[in-house]
């Protein structure tokens, strides 16, 4: 029976589907869908569920400690520095400065660094500085890259803690005090990552997909890795750091991927890094799939560059070796890098051995889709549980869009990722990225950073 005539009959399709499933033994079933059962189900779904069901009760148990931490924080009232580096971000700054005024924790300063903007950013920001809405505005007429801009701000930061945020994001009113609390719970904590959620969820299909993705990979994903002690990234869009530690490691290194990089450097010093899902930052995400592809291309390459090249020492036994750091890197490399290529292997194997005809392929594909749809549904439910009070109405509407998520992650993101890894491995493409000024890329390439 051909695929064409099958599509004419939905009944026929389900008949063949159940027939196909019935014909498989349990072992055969596992063999046919090994990527899901062996890897995704265990690493993501089961682990997430297990940890979250530990996290939520723990959070309730921790209430007393949190209360004490909050009292200590307000008794000490340390100055906190908001640090906002960026190029051509002037248009976002007035709103950002305005929104920071709403913070429940008031003792902070705002430092904005203009990294060689060629628009009217400096005019806008200088005016805000005069109006005292920005505490310090530093204009660098020559672009030096995001790391250099953040380091410039660090030079003049006076706060005990530094909170790095993106210009085009905004914080929930209690984000600052919430992100500071972990420092008062455990003095070995060197940095705290804040939750990043999508601000423009309903702008387009792309943003809806990202909203679901962020809730899984950041809100749930980082809470899980944080609990396991293997959190590997604190995003630049929302992260709090102890200033003394940042100064000890002399701030950020040349990017891209500087967020993950600085997190690892802090871990190497023996400090803990944690994720705080209740400190919320809303960020604007790309509205077009083409823009999104470009963004991900850049992000994905940094995995190769930083994990495999720069911090390869984490994988080798040495003095600074720590098991958690080893697992952090390995987990990242294995699940992102190696598993990315597993799909192509799976597909190839199916073509050679598994499928007799195109109908079988379609059936296998359908079952895979069903599995991934189901796991996304569960994962998103976990995310909603985790959100608790901060759950918004729009979160419910997104349940419908989970239908499309398997295509988004399975096809769109995977293609971009494969392309990025290949390009970076073969050509070190990130050294030629416009993200850094050419002068910096040239040195980085020469030094093999």
């Amino acid at each position: 029976m051909s695929v064409n005539s099958l599509i004419l009959s939905v009944d026929g399709y389900f008949y063949y589907l159940f027939d196909f499933i019935n014909s498989l033994t349990f072992l055969e079933f596992l063999i046919y869908f090994w990527p899901f059962f062996l890897l995704d189900l265990t690493r993501y779904l089961l682990l997430d569920a297990l940890v979250i069901f530990l996290y939520i009760p723990r959070k309730i148990l921790m209430r007393g400690k949190m209360y004490k931490a909050r009292i200590t924080l307000y008794k000490e009232m340390p100055l906190v520095t908001f640090l906002v580096p960026g190029k051509n971000e002037g248009k976002h700054i007035p709103r950002l400065a305005e929104s920071l005024q709403q913070q429940t924790y008031k003792n902070f300063e705002l430092i904005v660094v203009d990294d060689g903007s060629d628009d009217n950013t400096h005019i806008i920001c200088r005016q805000l500085e005069r109006e005292k809405k920005i505490d310090k505005f530093i204009r660098q007429s020559m672009r030096g890259g995001k790391a250099a801009a953040a380091n410039t701000a660090l030079c003049y930061a006076k706060g005990k803690y530094i909170v790095h945020i993106d210009a085009d994001s905004h914080l929930s009113d209690d984000a600052l005090e919430t992100i500071l609390l972990p420092f008062y719970l455990d003095e070995k904590i060197g940095a705290v990552g804040g939750d990043v959620r999508v601000a423009n969820t309903f702008a387009s299909m792309a943003t809806r997909m990202q909203a679901i993705e962020y809730s899984k990979s950041i809100s749930v994903g980082r809470t899980v890795t944080s609990m396991l002690g293997i959190l590997r990234i604190i995003s630049g869009a929302h992260g709090a750091f102890r200033r003394d530690i940042l100064q000890r490691i002399h701030g950020w290194d040349v990017g891209p991927g500087l967020d993950g990089d600085i997190t690892l450097k802090i871990r190497k010093l023996g400090y803990k890094v944690v994720h705080e899902p209740d400190a919320i930052c809303y960020t604007n995400t790309p509205e077009k799939f083409s823009q999104l592809a470009k963004q991900r291309f850049r992000w994905d390459r940094s995995l190769v560059r930083f994990r495999l090249r720069k911090h390869s020492d984490l994988l080798q036994p040495s003095k600074s070796f720590r098991l958690s750091n080893f697992i952090t890197s390995l987990d990242n490399i294995f699940y992102n890098f190696i598993l990315n290529f597993k799909w192509w292997i799976y597909f190839l194997l199916l073509l050679i051995f598994g499928a007799d005809d195109s109908l079988d392929l379609l059936l296998i594909f359908s079952i895979n889709y069903f599995f991934y749809f189901l796991s996304n549904l569960l994962e998103y439910t976990i995310a909603c549980l985790l959100y608790g009070k901060s759950l918004r109405r729009e979160n419910y509407f997104l349940f419908f869009y989970i239908l499309f998520v398997p295509f988004y992650t399975g096809i769109f993101l995977r293609t971009v990722r494969t392309y990025a890894y290949t390009m970076e491995l073969l050509f070190k493409a990130s050294y030629y990225d416009k993200w850094n000024p050419w002068k910096v890329s040239k040195v980085a390439h020469r030094e093999n950073l």
Binding site: G116, R126, E129, R130, K136, F137, I138, R139, Q140, S141, M142, G144, G145, A147, A148, N151, T152, L154, C155, Y156, H250, G251, W252, D253, V254, G255, L258, K439, V440, K442, V443, A444, E447, L449
Partner: protein, 473 residues
């Protein structure tokens, strides 16, 4: 044949025997009208200052035939050239060279100027008090571009030597005269430079100072930031400095070539009083003359130009500026000449006498000196006159007849209007004028006016005489 006239301030001390024609400075206005003056020669050997004093007296004379003539300084050598350049004289005669050839050259050089002066109507009358006209005439008579000279000897930082004597160093009214002449297209200015002037005293000597935006202290240092490309480290230059070279405190590398392995993205200021770090220092200007401090944008930023007369300017210089104000105001209100006005008045008197049906009124208003407006308002006087016209236009009817004498006394025939109603109209005009004057010129004095009914006994000349006697004194 024109001759140089040696001007002396003490006749008995004349030592320059070579010059047969001489005149004492205090008798200069009595010089015979037929004298063929090629230029005034002033002895500047003993003291340029003294010669300058003499020059000022000549240029302040009221007789065009005297103050407009070229002035030449007599000097022994080039020693005092710099000083002479600022004096406003038209040329220098050097005593140590062939004097006769020099004189002949100068006479022919000034021939055009002298011929132009000779053509002036009323050039022997000592009535030329209008500073605007004097300025314009000096510019036109010289027939070349009048360029500014930058100097520390003048408070405004630059002078137009030829024109200095007109306002006797009152810079603000001098600027206003130039601006007015330019907006009237009587002269055109060629941009030379910009100059910041004190908003209080027009002094060009301003001290531009960088101060701390937080505590206004002047005690600030600035330091460059260095960005090391390799490791993205950014810090003050002093943090990199080790002996004579730069070493990165983050990665221990030596920084070698600016632009290749490092650069200096910005400069940061540090306040030594309040310890604030800031990138943009506030700038404040302090006047060396009156010690007034102000932000640079609050000081006057003046364009300095070289001026040249236009064809209209040349015409106005020859025949006077009398019609200038009337020209502006008559674009809105129809103005009649004094003669026409008299004719209308006679017709109106006849009409009333004959029909005995209606009453009309004659109104007189004495207005503030127009020249004062030019001097105080400069280029803004145009707007002032336009507003003035609007006031007249809004209150008078088309059938009313308006004229002006000396551009300061207005005469109005209010046809078919009783004395009472005319008084009302007049009061409204006065009200409008008072507001305009107090807002623009801070003039709060009263504006005299008079209304009379037109009848067979009306006599304009008599009424004017009485009015002037009563209100102007």
């Amino acid at each position: 044949m024109r001759q140089p006239y040696l001007v002396t301030d003490r006749l008995d001390e004349v030592t320059n025997v070579g010059f047969a024609l001489h005149v004492s400075i205090d008798k200069i206005h009595e010089l015979d009208r037929s004298a063929q003056v090629g230029f005034w020669l002033i002895e500047a050997n003993v003291s340029v200052q003294q010669a300058q004093h003499c020059l000022n007296i000549i240029r302040q004379q009221l007789i065009p035939n005297i103050y407009l003539r070229p002035i030449v300084f007599l000097s022994l050598n080039h020693e005092s050239d710099a000083e002479i350049k600022l004096s406003g004289c038209d040329a220098v005669l050097y005593q140590n060279k062939e004097i006769d050839t020099q004189i002949a050259t100068l006479i022919s050089k000034f021939e055009n100027t002298n011929q132009w002066i000779d053509k002036l109507p009323n050039r022997h009358q000592d009535s030329e008090t209008n500073q605007i006209l004097r300025t314009l005439r000096l510019i036109v008579s010289r027939n070349h571009e009048i360029a500014p000279v930058i100097t520390a000897h003048s408070v405004s930082g630059f002078i137009y030597p030829l024109l200095e004597t007109v306002t006797q160093g009152n810079d603000s009214s001098f600027f206003n005269i130039l601006d007015f002449l330019e907006t009237q297209k009587l002269i055109i200015g060629n941009f030379i430079s910009h100059c910041h002037l004190c908003c209080q005293c027009h002094c060009a000597f301003l001290n531009f100072k960088e101060i701390c935006p937080q505590c206004q202290s002047e005690d600030i240092n600035s330091e460059e930031l260095i960005h090391h490309f390799k490791c993205a480290h950014v810090a003050k230059k002093s943090a990199f400095q080790q002996k004579d070279s730069l070493y990165c405190p983050k990665c221990d590398r030596e920084l070698k070539h600016i632009g290749v392995d490092y650069d200096k993205p910005s400069v940061i200021n540090h306040c030594n009083r309040c310890a604030a770090d800031f990138q943009e220092a506030e700038i404040i200007t302090e006047c060396f003359n009156c010690h007034n401090s102000a932000a640079p944008e609050d000081q006057i930023n003046r364009k300095i130009k070289a001026y040249r007369a236009t064809a209209i300017g040349a015409n106005a210089a020859m025949f006077g500026l009398d019609n200038l104000f009337t020209k502006i105001i008559s674009s809105k209100v129809k103005f009649f000449t004094e003669a026409q006005f008299k004719q209308f008045l006679e017709i109106e008197i006849e009409r009333i006498k004959r029909y005995q049906l209606s009453t009309s009124s004659l109104g007189l208003i004495k207005f503030i000196d127009i020249e004062k407006i030019y001097l105080q308002q400069g280029e803004k006087s145009i707007h002032f006159f336009e507003e003035l016209s609007t006031i007249f236009k809004s209150i008078l009817r088309l059938s009313d007849v308006v004229s002006t004498q000396d551009q300061s006394l207005f005469m109005i025939i209010l046809t078919e209007t009783s004395k009472e109603n005319s008084l009302k109209a007049m009061k409204r005009i006065i009200e409008g004028l008072s507001v305009l004057l107090s807002e623009n010129m801070h003039y709060t004095g009263s504006i005299p006016y008079e209304i009379e009914e037109i009848n067979s006994e009306t006599n304009l000349d008599q009424s004017l005489e009485q009015f002037v006697k009563k209100h102007v004194g």
